[in-house]
């Protein structure tokens, strides 16, 4: 079983029994920890530092900000060069919120059934959900490209939301099922015994308990949708394109010069909301990420 490590010793006794860790092992451990932190932060740090540099000093290798300017951020939101970055941000937000809400609204019921109810065909349903989550997005692009052109949906928001559901819904179900399985459902039974209807038991007892799981799932779903590129790059137009596509197609003021610093600024803008989420909810995100796959 996952939670209880069937041990007779208390943690205090256990600690006392532990031999002292040799110094070289501690050094090795912290060297490893430092390596992981550098791995995660260094490229991101470089993006932020570059985004603050004057275009002329794009390739300066000083490891801290030099020739500091906010021009790049101004360039990012400048529409004169044919970039619609501000609009793209709103598009991504809108598409992400819609996809997440639909995924949660539908997935929460399926996850409840999979976690809590016994029925024939459960494994078939799990297999379908799992198969859907492994599905290559590129296999949707061809038929949807043609279909949406035929029915005049090409470049519309629904043409971007619908394909996103294909990977957000399985993700939602997968994560929520794992969360629901860990919940203290006896409380639901207790509420019913106390005279609550199933609906009341769900609203008053279960929903507050499930809220953290739902919230984490929403974050994961939103990030997945926010980060989607392949389908959006084929099915969006200038008006509906999300930020990932806008960044990939970003053009600078001088055609000969790659607008690296502005692109790094754009990348920073896109990443900041995600970094904030990661900082606030890191523990939950890790739980959610590993929920489906590992708790065995």
């Amino acid at each position: 079983m996952a939670t209880a490590t069937a041990t007779g010793t208390t943690s205090a006794e256990y600690k006392a029994a532990q031999p002292k860790v040799p110094v070289w092992k501690t050094i090795r451990l912290y060297a490893g920890v430092a390596l992981i932190v550098v791995w995660g932060l260094a490229p991101f740090y470089w993006m932020v530092v570059t985004s603050l540099r004057d275009l002329q000093y794009t390739f300066d290798t000083t490891p801290y900000p030099t020739h500091v300017t906010l021009d790049n951020y101004r360039t990012v939101f400048d529409t004169d060069l044919g970039n619609h970055f501000g609009r793209a941000l709103l598009n991504s937000l809108f598409i992400g919120v819609c996809t997440t809400l639909i995924g949660l609204a539908v997935g929460v019921f399926a996850a409840y059934a999979l976690a809590r109810l016994e029925f024939r065909g459960k494994f078939v349903v799990l297999g379908i959900v799992l198969g859907a989550s492994m599905f290559p997005g590129v296999a949707l692009v061809t038929p949807l490209f043609q279909l949406f052109r035929n029915i005049g949906w090409f470049g519309t928001y629904q043409a971007l939301i619908i394909p996103n559901i294909s990977f957000v819904l399985p993700l939602t179900i997968y994560t929520l099922t794992a969360f629901f399985r860990e919940m203290p459902w006896e409380l639901e039974e207790a509420a019913k015994i106390d005279g609550a209807t199933p609906g009341q038991a769900f609203r008053i007892v279960i929903l507050p308990l499930a809220a953290p799981g739902l919230f984490t799932t929403a974050i994961l779903a939103f990030i997945a949708s926010w980060n989607e590129f392949l389908i959006a790059s084929q099915l969006s137009n200038d008006k509906t394109q999300p930020v990932t596509v806008a960044i990939a197609q970003f053009t600078g003021s001088q055609p000969q010069v790659e607008p690296y610093t502005a692109v790094m600024a754009a990348g920073t803008v896109v990443t900041i909301p995600l970094i904030i989420m990661v900082l606030l909810f890191q523990r939950r995100i890790v739980d959610g990420l590993t929920a489906g796959g590992v708790k065995g």
Partner: protein, 343 residues
């Protein structure tokens, strides 16, 4: 009733729920599946199945149907564009056997490069997943140790995971620029995106950077399930660190490891964003970083139906690999996600 109440107290575990409360309370036959419960389950699951049928089922069937249609082409006799009609397996032989009409496809066409693209996709997959596995395992072992600053480590490892792949691509595109920081640090002048091997490894490095955290977190979650007592017992019995790793850590973490491996393998097989943005599938002779997904997107521009055949092939290939993992390597993804077989 009392039996049922105690029954439900342990119900968060796997003990199959025998039934929910019968209306009159008491003793109906103890069948394994309660029809009321089953009916409720089907009602709750129906919207998901309907939605998946719309967003995946229908497009897939449409793609399969398209793949057996001929693409419209110029009729040499009339000079008009002509709708294709039924194509049989023509669109499939186009890719698999490089048949363009009655002749083999000339060099330089998308079809002529098909097997090369399959090879490149597999190469990316094997190298990337192997590197991620080794690094991810190392990271997980480090993170499983006792140290201060867990929050910082967890936050920094989540950053590559959270950054959109499109941004990752642009970021590494800048890092690997000719005058960029990579060449500066290595003291080299490599043209990363012109040479085919340099370009391939630039993409691999970017992918490994982004997804090793995911692998590490999954493996770490597996490691945390292993009780410290087992290691203590092994130590008392005189097992060396290496023996403890190979005969305790590896076998116990294997289920988590295999699921992580499966997910990542399928992810890299459908890789698109990084090469599409970093090289456009180019470098070297022109197609040296083209993956299957990039090839499909290129083909959409010229011929829908043969693109549909190619995307169907890609999808079959991905599922074949998933099948091999589940069937022969014993990855029990469904059962794991069902939480079954807890030990």
């Amino acid at each position: 009733m009392s039996a049922q109440t105690t029954g439900s107290a342990v119900a968060s575990e796997e003990a199959p729920k025998l039934k929910k409360k019968g209306k009159g309370g008491g003793d109906e036959d103890r069948e394994l599946i309660d029809p009321h419960q089953a009916r409720r389950a089907y009602v709750l699951i129906a919207p998901t199945i309907v939605l998946l049928a719309i967003v995946i089922g229908y497009p897939v069937l449409r793609a399969v149907w398209m793949s057996f249609q001929q693409d419209a082409k110029l009729d040499p006799q009339t000079g008009f564009f002509q709708e294709g009609g039924f194509a049989g397996f023509e669109n499939y032989t186009h890719w698999l056997l490089q048949r363009c009409g009655d002749t083999s496809c000339p060099v330089g066409t998308t079809a002529a490069g098909f097997w090369e693209v399959v090879w490149i996709t597999c190469f990316f997959t094997i190298v990337t997943v192997t590197l991620e596995l080794v690094l991810g395992f190392a990271f997980a072992l480090i993170m499983n140790g006792k140290y201060r600053g867990r929050g910082l480590v967890r936050a920094s490892i989540l950053i590559p995971w959270a950054i959109p792949t499109a941004v990752t691509a642009k970021l590494w595109y800048f890092i690997f620029a000719v005058n960029g920081i990579a060449n500066a640090l290595l003291n080299t002048d490599i043209l990363w995106f012109s040479d085919k091997w340099a370009a391939r490894f630039a993409i691999i490095i970017a992918d490994v950077w982004k997804t090793t955290p995911f692998m590490a977190l999954l493996i770490l979650a597996g490691l945390q399930l292993i009780s410290a007592d087992i290691y203590e017992a092994a130590k008392v019995d005189g097992a060396s660190a290496w023996q403890r790793f190979t005969s305790i850590t590896l076998p116990l973490v294997k289920p988590a490891l295999m699921v992580a491996l499966l997910f990542r393998t399928l992810d890299v097989l459908r890789m698109y964003d990084l090469p599409a943005i970093m090289t456009g599938g180019g470098a070297g002779d022109g197609n040296d970083t083209t993956t299957l997904s990039i090839l499909v997107v290129e083909e959409i521009r010229s011929a829908f139906n043969s693109a549909a055949a190619l995307s169907t092939l890609t999808f079959l290939f991905v599922f074949l690999v998933a099948f091999v993992f589940i069937k022969f390597l014993g990855v029990n993804a469904v059962e794991q996600s069902a939480g079954g077989k807890r030990k």
